[in-house]
């Protein structure tokens, strides 16, 4: 593999004095040959393309694989096939208008993204949320963790040949989807938080429904465990595959189950607690070898820990308002907005102008099911952020793919790719 420093002509995009776009030259200035990462293979090795449309790439990921027979010599991932310009869009939207955008980045765990962004916006604006809202957000995050891990489990089993756990996992997801729909009206694109509170309080049947779920969910987990964990095929395909040491994992900036499976006991909920997570009783699941099998065990056990947190949260859910009592940030209730002049003015200002954040910047990282999801917001005093940066855990976890897959077989590459637990909406944003 040739590594070459690339000297690039810089483009200064903009409009020239006639208002026409300036010519944008990109790329290598005068290199005789291009800096393609994909070599021109003369004969021995084979280049194959696991193209963006592929059942086993978990989204639109393109992997160009250099093979020596069946062994992977090099993997070059190509991303960007789902780049939707979220961060650019965020600069044109009010803070509450960005919440529906956050659903669509990591669409497997939408509520966790909503919570992450709301926490960052609240840190920026210096808002403290109510106790009831805190517990509800913990419930939202843990529900999202369960559904995300269930998708991961289902799709990874399919990749490795086991179809039944997919159906079991998706059945559990349907039960959580019912609860999400009961609460927010949407199965998938929930937009459940607002800056300073939640979109709505939970309905009456929600607590009983969730309690029932937490009582029956461990049975499904133990069924999946019985089918997969000591299964010779599963163990044979996942043990020793794609291992990363702790030092490598830290150097690659991995996070979440990928980092913990390699033996680094870092969990944002324990080490940089948010939403009162330090008051909940749960364990951080840490693996040992950092291979695909350990990641599977870590995620499976995390599901039971999430279940535990949900049970505790349901017990301690306090009464009280769910939104902060600040009329400049939270829309007043319709009855007041229609009858009281002051409330109507607050409503008007929030809807037409948006809530202005003070000048400053804030970064909040939460423990997304995929890893550490960070939202970095920079404000210049207006209602729309100057910069909304999503620190994407899947993007960074995926960058370690080429390191993990070297030397393994092609079928192992599929297992390793599955174990990274990527969601392309977040990788590409």
């Amino acid at each position: 593999m040739s590594k070459r420093t690339v000297e690039l002509e810089l483009a200064t995009p903009g409009l020239d004095d006639r208002g026409q776009p300036v010519r944008v030259p990109l790329g290598v200035a005068d290199a005789p040959d291009s800096t393609l990462p994909e070599p021109d293979l003369a004969g021995e090795h084979m280049l194959i393309n696991l193209g963006p449309q592929h059942p086993a790439t978990h989204g639109v990921l393109r992997l160009v694989v250099e093979l020596d027979g069946e062994t992977v010599v090099r993997v070059i991932p190509h991303l960007g096939y789902l780049h939707s310009g979220f961060e650019k869009l965020g600069e044109y939207r009010h803070y509450n208008q960005i919440i529906p955008l956050t659903d669509r980045t990591d669409y497997l765990s939408p509520m966790a993204n909503n919570v992450g962004f709301a926490l960052a916006a609240e840190k920026l604006m210096g808002i403290e949320i109510t106790p009831r809202c805190t517990v509800l957000r913990v419930i939202a995050c843990e529900m999202s963790r369960i559904i995300s891990h269930m998708v991961w489990l289902g799709t990874t089993s399919i990749d490795l040949g086991a179809f039944t756990p997919f159906l079991w996992a998706f059945q559990e997801r349907e039960r959580i989807y019912n609860l999400q729909e009961m609460w927010t009206g949407a199965r998938l694109t929930t937009s459940v938080t607002r800056v300073g509170g939640m979109m709505a309080d939970i309905p009456d049947d929600f607590v009983t429904g969730l309690r029932e779920f937490t009582q029956t969910f461990p049975r499904t987990l133990s069924e999946i465990d019985r089918v997969l964990t000591r299964n010779a095929v599963w163990v044979g395909r996942t043990q020793g595959v794609g291992a990363l040491t702790a030092a490598e994992a830290i150097n690659h900036s991995l996070s979440g189950p990928m980092l913990r499976a390699s033996g680094v006991p870092y969990d944002v909920r324990k080490d940089k607690p948010y939403l009162d997570y330090e008051t909940y009783d749960f364990d951080v699941v840490v693996g040992e070898h950092g291979d695909v099998y350990d990641r599977y065990l870590v995620r499976l056990e995390e599901c039971s820990q999430s279940n535990r947190i949900l049970q505790q949260a349901l017990v301690r859910l306090p009464d009280g308002p769910v939104n902060v009592a600040d009329p400049r940030v939270i829309l007043p209730p319709k009855s007041r907005a229609m009858n009281d002049m002051e409330a109507m003015i607050y409503h008007f200002k929030q809807v037409m102008e948006g809530v202005k954040a003070p000048v400053g910047e804030a970064y909040v990282g939460i423990e997304n099911p995929k890893g550490e999801l960070g939202n970095y917001l920079v404000s210049d005093g207006t209602a729309k952020p100057v910069r909304w940066r999503i620190r994407p855990p899947s993007f960074i976890n995926l960058s370690a793919l080429s390191r993990m897959a070297e030397g393994h077989l092609l079928s192992d590459l599929i297992a390793i790719n599955a174990s990274v637990d990527i969601v392309m909406g977040e990788v590409d944003r």
Binding site: V24, N49, I250, V264, Y266, A362, Y363, R387, D428
Partner: protein, 186 residues
Amino acid sequence: MNPTVDALRATFGNAIGRGLESCGDTIVYVARESLLDAMTWLRDTPQQGYDYLVDVTAVEYRDRERPLELVYQLRSLPRGAELRVKVELDPRGDLTVDSIVPLWRGADWLERETFDMFGVTFRGHPDLRRILMWETYAEGYPLRKDFPLRGRFSRAEQVRQALAANPADMRERLRRGERGKLPHSE
């Protein structure tokens, strides 16, 4: 304020700009030329030990007079400390900075994305190509403030250029040295 800021100033002197706090996070400005040395010091000095790179990105402000800032978010896992290091660049000038990939492998794709979205070049990066847009993308650097939300070209032109960016022809075109050409140009 994180005590690292004072330690940095003691070691690097004038290369360290202002240090401030925003919403509880410590931010320190470092001069562009000393970035690699400062980052190496931050990672390798035992009392600092910032072994985990959280994020690399850039911020361009709406106010045209403010510089473009490169933002590096660092964390020390054993100490639990966080630090935000910023480098100021002139948005109308030379956007070149040293790459920190030799220190943290995680910076590889993060720097490629900053190049793709802002046009910042990282000296010493092993493979600086566009990562989110296609490699012969001609419209510019999307997250710059002078790049309009809906892009510079008309929708039909965007569709045409996108459909023409097939990987097979792209290899050939990149090999010939062709880089994103605007339509109606020579």
